[in-house]
Point group: C2
Chain length 413, copies 2
């Protein structure tokens, strides 16, 4: 799937295509000229799930949202950009609580049904008053107009250069199901800008424990398979609301054939958002797909895909349009996945053409000039066949450029 | 310890200061203009130990040396530079065996007493004949003249810009003990150049199992605490020979007070070599010491030191002379060591002066211009106190520069 292509197809579809979802995105003044407050609201209480940063250092809104999601129920997500509310201590935690309390009161729902998220500068006092005021003013503007979805998508951005939206619809036992989402990027040019946020909504009816399980799996196969610089932030969060308003019979078991259809579309929509994030990685010039197949297990394929896409030497080779099989094999060998170099076939190229570089581990007499030419494209593919089984995994990464280093070094705390 | 300073003090001391050690370094023609074959020989059979790359992809000499070191006995180490003998299959393994067999025959010792190592290009056929001929010609030249030690130190280099040698001597129960070593660097500018090699010799008498244990600990505290780009190569190897010719009573137990003295000096000499490697990391402009102290355990301190020194965002901040506490704390939080950000004190500076940046996790009103000035030095210190115990660990790393990316991207396979 080409992120650009899907984006173009779905140009007018977003969060508001999901039945019962209303959004808004507004400017409260934390950021000087841009929208900085997003609200995503479901008319009906929804089943919900979320994943959070694995970093030991956790922002205040993450602490609060972890509590509120514990029952796998939520109805609204409130996000501010410009201030990460991290390293803010007690003052910050009270600010996160104020966001939830104000939202709940304005919508006349229980405070525990509110999830909060923040992204922006770390270590600045949290501007609770401005945000509380912004929530009060903007809750009445919640709307299912498509532009309201776009406002929300734009309001969560920090250093991103474009809004990341996705939508997919399909039929399930005669009912139309919608899944939509927004995300913000992981290009950590500004070190104190918190990293990745993603919010997904669906009108499917699905058991809350099953939603939790399938969402975590989808996060593993999408947002956890992208890499820019390997660091995870204090604020990373992905959440889903499933309000059941599509009217399908609730999916209650993994054995229900509808479950597989739902999961497949959820994963596809989330992969789309993940790829958009990589397309917008700042200081990067290339989007690289690392597909590892014919593996003995998904776990093996996944470890190797992540290790190769994370390797600094592979990233610089991609920047240099270098079909550098030595670095790819070395990175795969570092994955801790019992990698057998003498069994693998390796292919490198772009979306149109792949050239075989290794055959059962031995270098082929490939045409270097052809590959260099193929690698001029901004969308590159590295395809490693382990010849060892039937499973596969794909990771997506950026290259590392001289610009990346410049951007990341000139920023001053 | 300042690497440059120690190096200057020990200018004329090297491998050949160790009793019973003879060396040579010669040009066999694998590399066009430089020495490319090193031999380190002990007149007496020695207790020996080695550590090897953790990469699943392993060079042929590593396979052979693993077999030969299994009994913790060895007498000679033969190293070639210019060809890594990796991804060479059966032909390469037979080449490694020929190196060992030829050396053993010329010295009239058992083939199993020979360790072999290679560094250089991966995936090129191994030039067995040239190397075998080189060994035959050069074994008779083995010498304990200091220049022979220097020849060996120079003959193992690839992209290194200077030879890395160290020597330390101390008294143990009335006997003079020497420990010396050579190393080659980890600056992986040339992706197919294998990474780190280190060879240590000592005239101490020490039980072979105890030598194995203390050497592995010393490797963990020295070579395993340095990072340039986080990748490990197919050829990484560190080995030690202890020939007992100092005449001390053999150290047989960790409870022997002489053991602690020996271990301390072994670790110090190996840390010296490790720091020299970082000083010569290509494409790097700074040497950075990351000291983590007041930790509840050595393991915690070590994990955090490694995570911070490995972080690409921290490395770019060091290049930019940026006292970026946010990146340091985030990297520490990613160490998987239950890091408590709100308890830590953080100091950043150079060898002469450290400035406190965080106090119990809260940003201090530090003088940014002073720190920027301190960070102009090429030797930088980052000092993180966990305020949580008595243990500490130190890691050493380079910065990541625009030059690093350029060097690594323009190379073509």
């Amino acid at each position: 799937m080409n992120p650009q292509k899907v984006n173009a197809d779905d140009l007018l579809n977003n969060l508001t295509n999901v039945k019962g979802i209303k959004c808004w995105g507004a400017h409260t003044g934390i950021k000087s000229m841009r929208r900085d407050l997003a609200i995503i609201y479901s008319e009906q209480p929804a089943h919900a799930a979320a994943t959070f940063t694995q970093n030991d250092v956790v922002a205040e809104p993450v602490k609060l949202s972890k509590k509120h999601i514990a029952d796998n129920l939520a109805q609204v997500i409130v996000i501010n950009a410009g201030n990460a509310n991290a390293a803010t201590g007690e003052q910050g935690y009270r600010g996160a609580e104020a966001m939830a309390r104000t939202t709940a009161k304005a919508l006349d729902i229980d405070q525990e049904m509110v999830l909060v998220a923040s992204t922006g500068l770390i270590g600045e006092p949290f501007p609770t008053e401005d945000i509380v005021e912004g929530i009060k003013v903007n809750i009445p503007k919640l709307s299912n107009d498509p532009k309201a979805g776009s406002f929300a998508a734009n309001a969560i951005l920090t250093t991103d250069t474009f809004a990341k939206e996705g939508h997919i619809s399909f039929e399930l036992a005669g009912k139309e199901i919608n899944i939509a989402g927004i995300a913000k990027g992981s290009g950590m040019i500004h070190p104190n800008m918190a990293t990745m946020l993603a919010f997904v909504v669906t009108d499917a009816a699905i058991d809350k424990q099953l939603l939790d399980k399938t969402f975590k799996k989808a996060v593993d196969r999408s947002f956890n398979m992208i890499t820019v610089d390997g660091d995870t932030s204090t604020n990373d969060m992905a959440a889903v609301l499933a309000n059941g308003m599509a009217g399908n019979k609730e999916i209650k078991s993994e054995n229900d054939p509808n479950f597989a259809v739902f999961e497949e579309h959820l994963v596809e929509m989330m992969m789309h958002l993940a790829k958009l994030i990589i397309s917008d990685a700042e200081g990067a010039s290339k989007f690289v797909e690392y597909r590892i197949n014919h593996a003995e297990s998904y776990d093996t394929a996944r470890k190797i895909a992540r290790a190769v896409s994370d390797s600094l030497l592979v990233k610089t080779a991609m920047f240099g349009r270098d079909p550098n099989w030595g670095r790819i094999i070395m990175a795969a060998g570092n994955a801790g996945a019992n990698f057998k170099a003498d069994q693998v076939d390796l292919f490198i190229g772009n979306q149109k053409e792949l050239v075989q570089v290794l055959d059962k581990g031995m270098p082929m007499d490939f045409n270097k000039n052809l590959i260099k030419k193929l690698l001029r494209e901004s969308h590159i593919r590295v395809h490693l066949s382990l010849n060892n089984g039937k499973e596969e995994a794909t990771a997506w990464g950026s290259d590392i450029t001289t610009d990346y280093v410049m951007f990341n070094s000139v920023y001053t705390t």
